[in-house]
């Protein structure tokens, strides 16, 4: 499998709702590798890459939290100016739209995590351009 499992968690835009989720990760000793929140006036989606996504999904579900396992693509790039632009430009030229993206540093390299509207096509572009596609094994802690 060439995609990563990301947790998408639906939370109310209100104080105290995020900590409830984080405490569940903490209790289960699941490490968060990267996360991002996008919010609207009423609600937010908290997106998380973690050490055990399927286990985390089950735990969150059991606690009645609205959560979805989402397939995302992660590519590693050099931590230098211009590399993100190169990666995105290849996708863009192929007509792949990015729905959302976030980035973080992992072992000295940059990681771009994204969801696209056509993941099969995105995977083709990534392969054709010899981009470094990451999978779950790359994130074993």
């Amino acid at each position: 499998m060439n995609t990563l499992k990301q947790l998408s968690i639906f939370i109310e835009n209100k104080s105290g709702t995020l900590i409830k989720v984080l405490e569940l990760f903490s209790k289960a000793k699941i490490q968060i590798i990267a996360s991002t929140i996008a919010d609207t006036q009423d609600y937010g989606i908290y997106r998380v890459l973690c050490s055990a996504p399927c286990e985390a999904y089950t735990i969150l579900k059991e606690h009645g939290i609205n959560v979805q396992l989402t397939d995302v693509l992660a590519i590693a790039i050099e931590d230098e100016p211009g590399h993100a632009a190169m990666a995105i430009s290849a996708l863009s030229q192929a007509g792949v739209n990015i729905l959302y993206m976030y980035s973080f540093l992992w072992k000295g390299r940059g990681v771009l995590v994204m969801r696209t509207d056509e993941s099969d096509k995105a995977l083709e572009v990534i392969a054709e351009n010899d981009m470094d596609l990451l999978n779950e094994d790359d994130f074993i802690i």
Partner: protein, 443 residues
Amino acid sequence: MKKILPNDNNPFFDEKMETMTRAQIEALQLERLQATVQHCMNSPFYRKRFEEAGLKPEDIKTLDDISRIPFTTKQDLRDTYPFGMASVPLRECTRLHSSSGTTGTPTVILHTQKDLEEWAAQVARNLWMVGLRPDDVFQNSSGYGMFTGGLGFQYGAERLGMLTIPAAAGNSIRQIKFITDFGTTALHAVPSYVTRLYEVMQSMGVDPRRDTKLKVLAIGAEPHSEEQRRRIEDMMGVKAYNSFGMSEMCGPGVGFECQEQNGLHFWEDYYIVEIVDPETLEPVPDGEVGELVLTSLCREAMPLLRYRTRDLTRVLGRTCPCGRNHVRIDRMRGRSDDMMVLRGVNIFPIQIEKILMTFPELASNYLITLTTDEDNDNMTVEVELEELFTDDYRRLQNLTNRIQRALKDEILLTPHVKLLPKGSLPVSEGKAVRVVDKRTVYQ
């Protein structure tokens, strides 16, 4: 056919009826109640009801005997839809009004020609009471059609002899043009619409005090507070009088404020007014809040006995410096059922629930919150997501929009729809709290 009118300087439209003493009112009420109960024997519904209760018309010997008559409810009107409650043959009826029936079976109210004339006379009496005369120009900015505020005020204003403009609701710029071009002196509308008209007047550079001849507003059909009324009066530079009506009794005309503006006179030659505890259905003392129960005394086509209005109010007094001893009733303070009145539209939570249930994306819990924002009623519907079926905002927003549109089609106004995670809304033990009314009108 020329109708006889009082002299302009007479404060009363129907002096004999309006100035009766309490004893005269009660004597007339007993006489009319006995006649009405007898007449109700022509209604299949009431004949059966009386039989079940072991009641005969001749059992009504005093006004207190009204307590022997079973209550009539909205459900009874639905059950007898369309004509099962009529007390006259259909060929004697000349008008039918019907509720929209969005919450189930609609209801029908029938009128004979005499009913319509009596209805117009009540409205005319009200408008005369607040100083309107045949020289006045009356603009009715109320919905027409089945909504009784349209034809009810139309016929009443005409009965008084005013130049009457059936402007109907909406199109504010045209309304304001009518007001200035035709020299409108009196306007009937729901209070929130008056506020809207004022806003549009401001944007057009029209000052209601300087550029119009307005002096009287009749406002009703949606709950409003004393403060809201005063604000409307200050804005428009007029007197605003509270009007009460309900289609079951005829429509507008049932009760109206006199120039004292201290409660609505309910016309006791036309109705018997009771205030009862909505739980025990026993009468409550004057001054205490209870459910308004009305018995019509002059209706031919469809008299209703002890009709439970579900409106909560109280008796303020039975005398008045204006010279009318007809009971004064406080402005409506809420409902004994869960009906909400927003911007003149009646809405039941079940209507909202019914729509929400059609969305499989949603959990079953929901909460409706009503707020007042610059004198406008607003509704927020909070719903819970059953499953996070996407992590794409556009699809979540699309869901919110679809819910909003579906609700608008049902309740005719656009609520704010707030999507929440499952489990966010309070779960109540027993009967769920579905509506939180934070509007200032009931405070």
